[in-house]
């Protein structure tokens, strides 16, 4: 990974500002698509919540709360004793957990998206452009990654690493680059034969320059498309892993909240205020990623639009 990052900045050096412009320009943010705008708006809302979590939250999300000394503030209904969304059965503030949960969700989601998109893009670029033995090796690796059942893999990984939200990111980085890698490779294969790439090659540009200057900008939207899907995958996976009991017990996430709620029989206790909000937050953020990716599809494959 550090190598890849270095390569980008190296080529960008002569005029790094124009490089940034070019990257943004080549992103083709799908700002005409109403879904995509909705998706982006959801992201912005959650990012704001995550940044200002400590101000929005009314309590420390892990603190055991007492009404008076030795009287645990457990199972409070929303609004009761000033708890916005009530408290858990072990006396933690639900609203504050929800707010802090957006931090881990975005942290996991965005990192995983970045890792998956970066690895997938690099693999696709290198395999597609250089071809030959490199291509064969990378694509066989992709075959193997396709043969690994993802969720079971995360479970096994989580079992022997210390429980941490980063396990999900690690597992995604190890396995889920496969889709991105394959798609980008085939895109690169068609781009490679384009006239301007040929021209650059004839004029003596280095491979590195051709890849990152002429090809990469054209596939960046594709990377973003897969990245925005990966955000959702990461958050859903973290939730599933938490539900099965392999989650990080020290980090408040929405998956952790749901797991806590189910383990405390919140359904039987009709504590809807406890297990509905985290579920809705997950749906919102994951769906937002899908909306954006859909917006991208319409930009990339305009025939659907008409």
């Amino acid at each position: 990974m550090p190598d890849g990052g270095g390569a980008v900045s190296a080529t960008g050096k002569p005029g790094s500002r124009s490089m940034i412009d070019r990257i943004f320009g080549s992103l083709h943010l799908p700002l005409r698509d109403p879904f995509a705008i909705m998706g982006l708006a959801i992201y912005v809302a959650f990012i704001v919540a995550a940044i200002f979590a400590d101000r929005l939250a009314t309590h420390d999300p892990t603190e055991i709360l007492f009404i008076e000394s030795y009287d645990l503030a457990s199972d409070r209904r929303p609004g009761e004793d000033g708890f916005v969304l009530g408290t858990t059965s072990l006396g933690r503030d639900i609203f504050s957990q929800l707010v802090y949960g957006s931090r881990s969700a975005l942290l996991i989601g965005l990192t995983a998206a970045f890792v998956v998109a970066l690895i997938g893009t690099l693999v696709g670029l290198i395999a597609g452009y250089f071809g030959g033995i490199i291509d064969i090796v990378l694509m066989r690796l992709a075959d193997i990654a396709f043969g690994i059942p993802f969720l079971p893999f995360v479970i096994v990984l989580a079992a022997f690493l210390d429980p941490s939200i980063w396990n999900v990111v690690l597992a995604m980085g190890l396995v889920l680059w496969r889709d991105t890698g394959r798609v980008i490779r085939s895109q690169v294969l068609t781009l490679r034969t384009r006239a301007y790439v040929e021209a650059a090659r004839v004029s003596g540009s280095s491979d590195l320059k051709i890849v990152f200057r002429h090809i990469a900008p054209n596939i960046l939207p594709l990377s973003f498309l897969y990245g925005s899907i990966a955000i959702g995958w990461a958050i859903l996976t973290e939730a599933s892993i938490s539900f099965l009991g392999f989650g990080d017990p020290q980090t408040i996430s929405w998956g952790y909240m749901l797991q806590d709620a189910f383990a405390s029989q919140a359904l039987s206790n009709r504590a809807y205020y406890w297990f509905i909000p985290p579920g809705l937050c997950i749906i919102l953020v994951v769906a937002a990623g899908f909306f954006i990716s859909r917006g991208y599809e319409e930009v990339l494959f305009p025939k659907l639009k008409e």
Binding site: I64, F66, Y70, D71, L72, S74, S89, L90, G91, A159, D162, P163, S242, G245, G247, P249, Q250, Q259, D260, F262, A263, S264, Q265, L267, S268, N269
Partner: protein, 550 residues
């Protein structure tokens, strides 16, 4: 060998630690962590560990909570005995723990410190002496006095911070089962063999349908496997004695038994018993059952028969001769071993003797016992069905006993209300919610019983700063047990200061349970022992060096 030196060193420190109380302060006490299992698996433990950490910080100690799953915790605490500081732990109630010996001896006798149950490394020669004496004392009153003394020593030394004896809570549908026929076994609760035999149906539903969140590991009379498995083995196989609802052993397959000397006990076998395949149960079968455990093919049962020197049969009488007197022999041996048919197991054991495997890996296709229920079917990870053995002298009132595997607690509760199960035999969840559900539903009977088992926080007595009893006392007395009962167990527990539960009233030392607690008291104890608070951090008494560092 290393362990021996370590425990010796710990014992030496124990002596020096108590006496120093001079003016200038020693080193700052290093920060340490309390090990807990995750909230998901053990909400109450996670909760009390966090509360205790909050309370201890008030004394000027840096305390962290270290959460890890059970396998890691067991590996650390059990197999790396000098590597941890404080851990949440529990002893579960089992019928054979109705005799106090197993807990009071194994948990704190110095001989079990290197590898056995005394994992926290408590060494006290005086204590050893007392618990050894109660072991061979067959006079109940004298034994009671010795056990009271042992409990008092532990209360003084506080090798561990005893918290609570939880209440086991179970429920059943009282429109299906006659509520008066459920038997509440002291320290165990209504989920027990006596209930499964006597529970009487009121209507057409004649099957006891119960739940377990754990899968069945094995149905094997020579293998002590998962906790749920033992519900089945207790019903399919008879034992000479059984632990009664009062916690004391009573004759079962034995018609009667009698101590004929300090080390000999004569058992008379009940007449007319038959194995589920129709063969008669004989004294030879009984002898064979015990000898099977004395051999090498059933290692988990071996400790329970190691005291047997000889077994003789004469007609329907079996005489056990012991190597040394044992107060708990009836409970821990006669009421523990399953009676197995010689005609089935003899060829199996002979065959196994020539192999690497032992009887623990042998799963009978169709298990045969002589118990009140006989095996009918087993569907992997789904259910086990037993049928009433009508020919048994204590035949069950129910027709079948169906154990369903339900990994999801929420689903188990829902199933109880919808009638998919009618006996909630495994409920690790919030008992208050169960009570609320029962109130709404109207059909459910919920019974809570104080457990023989207990939850506690073990100090690693081998390691500084926990090698000093004063320090342990201070940490222990800082914690209000009522707070733990309320905030971690939702009131479904009683506070504890002894390894012998109030569920065993004859052996339990009630005098040591009530004591004052609080941060101020803890500070006073520390102050008296020479500990000092400097810049908000607790320091050792003068001259004491921190040997382990941060």
């Amino acid at each position: 060998m290393r362990d021996v030196f370590q425990t010796a060193a710990a014992a030496a420190l124990l002596v020096t630690g108590g006496v120093s109380s001079v003016l200038a302060a020693g080193d700052k006490i290093r920060g340490f962590s309390i090990v807990s299992r995750p909230q998901a698996a053990q909400p109450a433990e996670f909760q009390f560990v966090n509360i205790i950490a909050q309370e201890w910080r008030k004394l000027g100690i840096d305390v962290e909570v270290d959460v890890m799953p059970w396998e890691q915790m067991a590996d650390l605490v059990w197999y790396n005995r000098d590597k941890w500081d404080v851990t949440g732990w529990q002893m579960v109630g089992r019928p054979e723990r109705s005799d106090p010996d197993e807990l009071i001896y194994n948990l704190y006798h110095s001989s079990t410190a290197p590898k056995g149950y005394n994992f926290l490394g408590y060494i006290n020669p005086k204590y050893d002496q007392v618990v050894e004496a109660q072991r061979v004392e067959t006079d109940a009153d004298k034994r009671q006095a010795l056990l009271n003394q042992a409990q008092a020593i532990l209360a003084e030394d506080q090798p561990a911070l005893m918290l609570v004896h939880p209440k086991s809570t179970f429920a059943f549908d009282k429109t299906i089962w006659d509520a008066s026929t459920a038997v509440d076994q002291g320290g165990i609760g209504i989920k027990n063999t006596w209930t499964f035999i006597s529970l009487a149906p009121l209507g057409d539903q004649q099957d006891i349908i119960l739940n377990s969140s754990d899968n069945i590991q094995a149905i094997n009379p020579l293998f002590i496997s998962g906790g749920t498995d033992s519900w089945i083995t207790e019903l399919v196989w008879d034992r000479l004695l059984r632990i009664g609802p009062d916690g004391l052993p009573r004759p079962w397959a034995a018609e009667s038994y009698e101590w004929t000397g300090a080390t000999t006990i004569e058992v008379t076998l009940r007449d007319g018993m038959r194995w589920h395949d129709g063969q008669p149960v004989t004294a030879e079968d009984v002898k064979f059952s015990f000898e099977a455990a004395m051999g090498d093919e059933a290692p988990m049962y071996k400790p329970f028969v190691s005291n047997i020197a000889a077994i003789d049969t004469d007609g329907n009488k079996i005489t056990f001769t012991l190597s040394k007197p044992s107060a708990s022999f009836t409970t821990s041996s006669l009421a523990k071993l399953n009676l197995i048919p010689k005609h089935i197991w003899e060829p199996v054991l002979t065959d196994l003797a020539s192999k690497d495997e032992n009887a623990e890996t042998y799963q009978e296709e169709n298990p045969v016992g002589s118990g009140p229920y006989r095996f009918a079917s087993w569907t992997t990870n789904e259910e086990v069905v037993l049928e009433a053995n009508e020919g048994h002298w204590s035949a069950p009132k129910a027709e079948r006993w169906v154990l369903r595997i339900v990994p999801n607690t929420e689903a188990a509760l829902g199933m109880l209300r919808s009638g998919e199960i009618n006996f909630l035999s495994d409920f690790p969840g919030d008992a208050r919610i169960l009570l609320n559900a029962a109130e709404e539903d109207g059909d459910l009977e919920v019974v809570s019983t104080v457990d023989i088992g207990f939850r506690y926080l073990a100090f690693n007595n081998r390691r500084q700063p926990f090698d000093n009893p004063a320090f342990r006392r201070a940490l222990s007395f800082a914690i209000n047990r009522d707070l733990i009962v309320g905030a971690a167990f939702k009131g479904f527990a009683v506070k504890s200061n002894s390894v012998i539960s109030p569920a065993l009233p004859f052996w339990h030392n009630a005098a040591i349970v009530e004591f004052e607690t609080g941060t101020d008291l803890a500070k006073r104890i520390l102050d008296d022992a020479g500990y000092e608070v400097i810049d908000g951090k607790l320091h050792y008494p003068n001259g004491v060096k921190e040997t382990l560092g941060d």
